[in-house]
Symmetry: C2
Subunit: 444 residues, 2 copies
Amino acid sequence: MSGKNVATSSSIRKSELHSSLSDPVLDTMNFLNEITLRYPGAISFAPGRPYDGFFETEQVLAHLRRYLDHLTDHGASPAQVRTAVYQYGPTAGQIREIIADSLRRDEGIDVPPESIVVTVGAQEAMMLVVRALIRDPDDVLLVSSPCYVGITGVARLLDVTLGAVAETTDGFSLANLEAAIRAERAAGRRPRAFYLVPDHANPSGSTLPGPVRAQLLELAAREHLLILEDTPYRLVSPGEPVPTLKALDRHRSVVHLGSYSKTLFPGARVGFAVADQPVTGDDGRVGLLADELSKIKSMVTVNTSSLSQAVVAGALLAVDGRLSELNAKAAVHYGDAMRRVLDRLAERLPESRRAELGVRWHEPSGGFFLGLTVGFEADDAALTRAAEEFGVIWTPMRYFHPDDGGRRALRLSVSYLSPEEIDEGITRLVAFIESETSHRDLEP
Amino acid sequence: MSGKNVATSSSIRKSELHSSLSDPVLDTMNFLNEITLRYPGAISFAPGRPYDGFFETEQVLAHLRRYLDHLTDHGASPAQVRTAVYQYGPTAGQIREIIADSLRRDEGIDVPPESIVVTVGAQEAMMLVVRALIRDPDDVLLVSSPCYVGITGVARLLDVTLGAVAETTDGFSLANLEAAIRAERAAGRRPRAFYLVPDHANPSGSTLPGPVRAQLLELAAREHLLILEDTPYRLVSPGEPVPTLKALDRHRSVVHLGSYSKTLFPGARVGFAVADQPVTGDDGRVGLLADELSKIKSMVTVNTSSLSQAVVAGALLAVDGRLSELNAKAAVHYGDAMRRVLDRLAERLPESRRAELGVRWHEPSGGFFLGLTVGFEADDAALTRAAEEFGVIWTPMRYFHPDDGGRRALRLSVSYLSPEEIDEGITRLVAFIESETSHRDLEP
């Protein structure tokens, strides 16, 4: 046994470990967690947790049972059903047909099941795609900035060079992407792919309008750039969503990353990549990028839990693949929450006052996040004051900038709060903003 | 939609992708799969599949229910139970106490739950540990050779320098490890850790005797080398196992990697790392290596499926943490299978004939694998002849050698075959060996 008071010859200095572990983002996220623990009475707009009010534990058992029955109905013997749950399945996943069917019915994405790799959440899908596409230090991954920390984390873990494509106040900017591609090429580097969240982005909350999607796809085809389309916040706003980039993709420019974490349930850890790009070997044989992702997956997690896949498949079967239907109530919930946040903000900060304070926001129709520009440095010290003096917590936007941006901005997450918490939380937040701005210089 | 006949501007050359995808091991594994598909009538000693005859699908539901009841019994409200299944849990896992308890009762490994990270199988645990420990190209990971392809795969994925420590006919060699450490240091590199499977290794089948374990631990402490102890084949042989390296570890030299894939069930994809090594930051703060592994996990899979964790926990609770008890029947099954393979080999190849043919093997008491030295090149061409002409499939041992070794050896996996298949399979294998050796030069 290795108890607590034994001699330790194996003490490790952190500086001996991989550089990704010294990344300041980890410390800042840690700081956010500490603040949350230290001020339990504060209303927190920080965690991007899905609302779980529509979820019942017993559903899991029903979904699992439904999938097992589905196998039986399709001719599987009891021994084959047992094997499907018990054994390792194919590395690329065992529910690819069901996912492909759902994508076709619900999203108009028509791809063969062979182009899908089932992953341990979209996070693993990012890891697989980035690892496959980035060969050496001259290969660059471009990311929309501010940006989900999961993709920058993968890049740091794999020592991948990142290029930031700054969002404007309108969100994604085609001109900035073009400029970034040109700049990388001029520096002798190869921009291999561009990562973005086109729907209700984390952290900015912005959504790409349909025409901009078409322009982005044209640019990608022209520049031979792959688009990594991450879609965790599809189907979490009411009404008809804009078509995905993948549904509009005529040139197989898009690798589509999907997640069931914000819709079915987070605890399943099931996501997927759609990678129908042809890959040509030295011997002239052509396969799919999905095959290459599977090979990498065999070295990362080998398989996605059969059990989790079974439950996800059972849930999809229950609604004939129409995930949007399954998620309709939750989508209304998120839409209402966002509307309430926007209404309360507008009430407490009328336009004239907003201008004086240097506060700006846009108007998402749903999703989890709202980006707020403010007139002061929204740093860890400001966060501590907000929690301690005003009982409200938010996330500094600078955490999400791979470059130096986002210093006067913060992220509000609205997904997990009750209407009462939103009302009180926005009151506190506005009081904090008023106090903070009066103490400090206004934004120039 | 991106159908099959659309213009493709995104064709990728494989040479543009990461080098791990051009690794010959992937092609050879692929070749093995192709052979298996091409000769469905062949008896295959290739797949390392756990035997599933003792598994019933309904057990999964019972285990899940037991864990949920356990939470309720410990004071969780229905909403808290829902959250435990539905939401993301802590990145390090939500069943660490139950795993720590099981390790203490079953293995005499006494570590705090905080030193455990629950992972998506032991494969992810390898990924996390290797990523954490290897900082730059001067850091070397030493591996017992022949070696499980999962660890060499992780090394290739992360562009990590490998050093091979050759096994002898007796298995692990302390002298070879010492020589490897000295050689790496002489070349200006830092051997950071040594990976091995001390029980019923994959692929050689060898087990480290108790006294050698003590010597290995002394060496590790003296050389400040971490041992990565991978234990997938614990508890798959009858009788009392030799204590794990971690149970004997007095200096926190051992990072212990565990898996429930060969015992509870593969489809859950739950493993874990025990990493109780202290890590000291630049600011003097001391944490555990487990904390650092969790940070890396947050960039790889974020969480291990709550559902899979719940089922594993429920199974452990059913036997009060005594996994060995749960697995007793399977252990007898594997012991019987191995005994039968050894008996049939000895009958069909008496000692005198064995010597003439240059065939040798050792005598594992259980586990999944047996290494067989033969008197001919056991390559893909030989494998094709075995499948086509003799109806028997095995794995060339060279697949498992990071260096050039194992050319005249093969791996037999005994875990998944019935007694009748073993009898007929060994008859076919011996006929193949006889034919192969008479055609070719005998081993010098």
